[in-house]
Symmetry: C2
Subunit: 204 residues, 2 copies
DNA sequence: GATTTTTTTAACTGTTTGGTTAAACTTTTA
DNA sequence: TAAAAGTTTAACCAAACAGTTAAAAAAATC
């Protein structure tokens, strides 16, 4: 069935609601407050979307598709396993930073056993894993990389970067230890370090 | 102020409530349902704990303390940087598996900006990070390990393992790709792989 | 300009929810 | 054995909440 074009207001609702759901969770999101955040009236929410659940699933479907599309495009633009793996890490990091609702909602949904995550969003995560499997297989064939479990690498990348992005408010609230000398790693430093550790681990 | 000994019922409430909060989140947890899960009447919850928020924070304080105590004890039982780092990874993995509410609630709280995480629980995470810093410093001094950011390593370990533990229900729901040959890594396999990748990354 | 669509307004309904309460019962303690 | 503490029962209250509604206004479309 052909879908009607999304109006500007519906588009705005989707963008703002995604932020609200990420910050408050599905149960913690109150529709009156969400409407205020979207800059529309609550009745307008129900004019465009059937109910809270429908809005939520639509938000996550579009969000995950945007992130995964960005990652796969970045990987496809490279030719060697090494540069593809780096693209995989960097692209996910940047896409997740550009859409912080994605790692945030992913973590909430994992915590809830995934039952609130729409099938369409899960399929997007599967595409990323399939892509990584191909990169690691090419790396073994062409560069003699060590055999490793793609799921482990996927979780180290997605897990570490998601934790880093979502813990930013907490780290900002913690006064840094002055005797330490170590400052909070920036996003770029984090990405570079994850990349380095990963490539070292794979190479002999 | 000296705290009164915790009665058996209060202890049971803390254990069961921790599971319920992990599975449903703070906002998603309904006190009537939580009481049922604890096997007590709702009035009994309020007899022992002032309100929902107090119960929640008490649950997390005890939970994080138990996990971090286990990790630090395991590390202290080892002498070399290499075995200490492995102990750090293995102990966290096993403690988190034994208390799955810990990675689950940690992810939920990160997603909410940490504002619901009691100070006592944050301090526990800080103890773990301090411990890791010492291990990595000793590794550099004694074994010539490469310099790396302890926070990055911490997040790769805690992030990857937390994702693995909390995504188990979702992975179980996804029918494995038969052409793949790769099966879902067990907890032990995941821990061993994270350990291997990490040690390879640190060694020259 | 007429019609249709979109959006707001403001109130509304029924249900859910955290928390309370007094009395009664059970268990523990002194 | 009496007193105190713990637990249940069952109902309760006030507020919060998802979702609805009709009428009116504004914007978009034909």
């Amino acid at each position: 069935m052909m879908q009607k074009p999304v109006s500007a207001t519906a588009q705005k609702i989707l963008t703002c609601a995604t932020e609200w759901f990420a910050a408050h969770g599905y149960e913690g999101a109150v529709m009156d407050d969400l409407a205020g955040h979207c800059g529309v009236n609550k009745a307008s929410l129900y004019y465009h979307f059937q109910d809270k659940r429908t809005l939520y699933e639509r938000c996550l479907t579009l969000l995950y598709q945007a992130v995964v599309d960005q990652v796969l495009a970045a990987v496809a633009a490279r030719r060697t396993p090494k540069t593809r793996l780096s693209a995989y890490v960097s692209a996910f990091a940047d896409a997740a930073l550009g859409h912080p609702a994605m790692p945030t909602t992913l973590m909430r949904e994992f915590a809830s056993g995934g039952k609130g995550l729409p099938v369409t969003a899960r399929e997007q995560m599967q595409r990323m894993l399939t892509c990584l499997k191909q990169i690691l297989a090419e790396g073994r064939r062409q560069l003699g990389w060590r055999t490793t479990d793609p799921l482990v690498v996927h979780m180290m990348v997605v897990g570490a970067l998601s934790f880093h992005i979502t813990s930013a408010p907490m780290r900002a609230a913690i006064r840094p230890d002055p005797s330490d000398g170590a400052k909070d790693p920036s996003h770029a430093a984090m990405v570079a370090e994850v990349n380095r550790l990963l490539l070292r681990a794979l190479q002999a």
